[in-house]
Structure formats: C-alpha cells, structure tokens
C-alpha cells in the first residue's frame, strides 16, 4: 500500500508546528533525477508503516507513484514525537548508501557458561543496488563461545553489496564477567589539581 503524501508549499517553523499539531509530519523527497519536493505525510498512516531508516515504500504524491527509501527520521528526544522525514527516490540501476541494522538470533553457548554478550556494532553502512535493498542483517550467535568474536567481514552480506565499514570492526563478542564493586565509595573531599595555578607562578 502506498503512503499518501501532500505537496508542502509553505515552509518555516510556525507552519511546521501547526502541521504537527494537526497530525501531519513535514517531509522532503529528493534523489537522482528528481527535483526536491517538500511534503506532508500523515502521522497516523506513517505509524501503520514500519517507518525505520532504510525502509522502502511507495509514495503517492497527488496521483503519481514514487518508490522511495526512508533516509532519515528526526525524533524529538524527550517525547519521542516524529519531527521530520527524509525520503530518497530510488531509480533503477543506481546504488544507495544505507545504514542497515544488525539483528542477532539465538542464545550463545558462552552466555550459558556465564559470559556477557557484547553487541558492539549494531548497524553497518552499506552501498546497495536500489533493486536489491534489504532491511536487516540477521546473525546467528548461538555457536559463540567465551572470547569468540564476529567481525564485520564475517557478516552474511549478499553479493554486489559494498560494505563501507572497517572489515575488522567487532560486531558481537562474548566477554567474561568482571567482578564489580557494589559497595558505595567513601566520600572524598579532596579537590582536583588546577592546571592554571602552576602556569601563573612561572609567569611571575
């Protein structure tokens, strides 16, 4: 189902705030061979879609249908309200740079032995042909033992996709437990060293 979008002719903070109060989200559509166009999308319709960054959808802009990818979502940190969306139009034969989330499945052997699963790289930047886009990379971690590491180069990435991350970057590892002090630290009254003090004395 296509996401309905209305062309936005007015710009500015006041207009955007008024629109948000009325359940509309300001957005922009751009891309190769497409003139940038300002839009409004309905928040209610958007909530029904899976509107994460990297999601591909059809935009119905006043009669014409455009295939686009969600490039950016601006969210208000304190309330979680959606402030603005960026759509990038997809043209056949082109590539898109997308941040794809890594999803892990299974319970690692190392965790059963008492280790801690450290999920370090949660998303990777990829250059993907626009006709072969995917929304997540699923990694099975059930065979990971204590000290085992999955790097970016070990990820199941389809052919034709260029990885823009460092291949040696750690994605998941099983670390051993560190025993940590629980007791409250005693209150210290000492003051830190003041850097500027010594310098002044030298000048005099």
């Amino acid at each position: 189902m296509a996401l309905e979008a209305i062309k936005r002719l007015e710009k500015g903070t006041r207009v955007a705030r008024r629109a948000r109060r009325n359940g509309l989200v300001p957005a922009v559509l751009y891309g190769k061979g497409v003139d940038p166009v300002c839009l409004y999308v309905s928040l209610k319709e958007l909530r029904q879609e899976h509107f994460n960054v990297g999601h591909v959808l059809d935009l119905a802009i006043q009669g014409s249908l455009v295939k686009a990818i969600i490039k950016d979502v601006q969210i208000e940190p304190a309330t979680g309200a959606v402030l603005h969306l960026d759509f990038q139009a997809l043209s056949a034969g082109s590539t898109v740079t997308v941040t794809v989330p890594v999803v892990i499945t299974g319970e690692p052997v190392g965790v059963k032995k008492g280790g801690i699963l450290e999920f370090i790289t949660r998303e990777v930047e990829l250059e993907i042909p626009s006709d072969r886009l995917f929304e997540q990379i699923v990694v099975d971690v059930s065979n990971l033992d204590l000290g085992d590491i999955i790097h970016v180069r070990d990820l199941p990435i389809p052919e034709g996709v260029k990885v823009l991350e460092d291949p040696d970057e750690v994605v998941v590892t099983i670390a051993e437990q560190e025993v940590e002090e629980v007791a409250a630290e005693a209150e210290t009254v000492s003051e830190p060293e003041v850097i500027s003090k010594g310098k002044k004395e030298e000048e005099e």
Partner: protein
C-alpha cells in the same frame, strides 16, 4: 566518587539547563537506558547512589554504563555569612541534565529487571526519568 582529576579553573559559572538535550539522547551501548524526562543538576553522590543500586540489582549477566560525568563545580558560601566577599567555595561536582539525556545504559537483563532498576534509580534523582529500550 566521580570528579575530574585536573581542572583549568577552580570555579565555573553555573551550567545552563534550559531547553532540551541534543546530545546523548540515543542508546549507544546497552539494550535499556534510563532517560531524563525532567531537568536539573545531578551531583556525584546521586550518580554513586544510582550506580550502587544498579550494580546490586543487575545480576551476574548484566552490564551497565554511566553515560554522564560530573565535571562542573557547585559552590556554596558558609552558613551565616553575609553577601559579598566573592564566590563561595567548591562544594560538589555536578552535571547539568536536560530532558532527553540518557543517564545510564544496561544490557544482559530482562525487561522486568530493567523496569525494577529504573524505578529504584528514579527515586534517587531530583527529576522524572523513564526507561527506554531498543525494542
């Protein structure tokens, strides 16, 4: 308790806590985070108190991160002293919190434990907080 090792000046202006937070508003390491809803100054003793309660409740498989550091000083004049005579002496180390800031992050625990810890941490802070998760 958390405090800087070296500082350039002994006293600083009181940091502003107006507006909403723009940095440190998303989960960076863990699956759960404790996010500030209100605003205020959090001092090293409060952070330590929260750390203790998290460490006690997180269990063996859990891990946590403290996402803030109190690097600004709060000064106070002695009691029964008239106004004037310069700025007071450093009393404690603080961090300015605006709505949206993630204060602590946790991983390796279930939702029930995370909610329990978030409630206990909330009691120890001078503003409202909420639990955020990746799911």
């Amino acid at each position: 308790m958390l405090m800087p090792k070296r500082v350039k000046y002994r006293k600083n202006h009181l940091p502003h806590i107006k507006g909403k937070e723009t940095r440190g508003t998303e989960l960076a390491f863990g699956d759960y985070g404790i996010q500030a809803v209100g605003r205020g100054y959090i001092d090293a003793r409060m952070i330590e108190s929260c750390r203790v309660v998290i460490a006690k409740n997180i269990g063996k498989t859990g891990k946590y991160w403290i996402k803030i550091f109190p690097d600004r000083v709060w000064t106070k004049k002695p009691l029964e002293v008239r106004m004037g005579g310069g700025k007071g002496d450093p009393e404690k180390w603080i961090f300015p919190v605006r709505p949206g800031r993630i204060l602590f992050e946790m991983t390796g625990i279930d939702g029930e434990t995370a909610r329990h810890i978030a409630r206990l941490v909330g009691y120890r802070l001078p503003f409202e907080t909420k639990l955020v998760s990746r799911v």
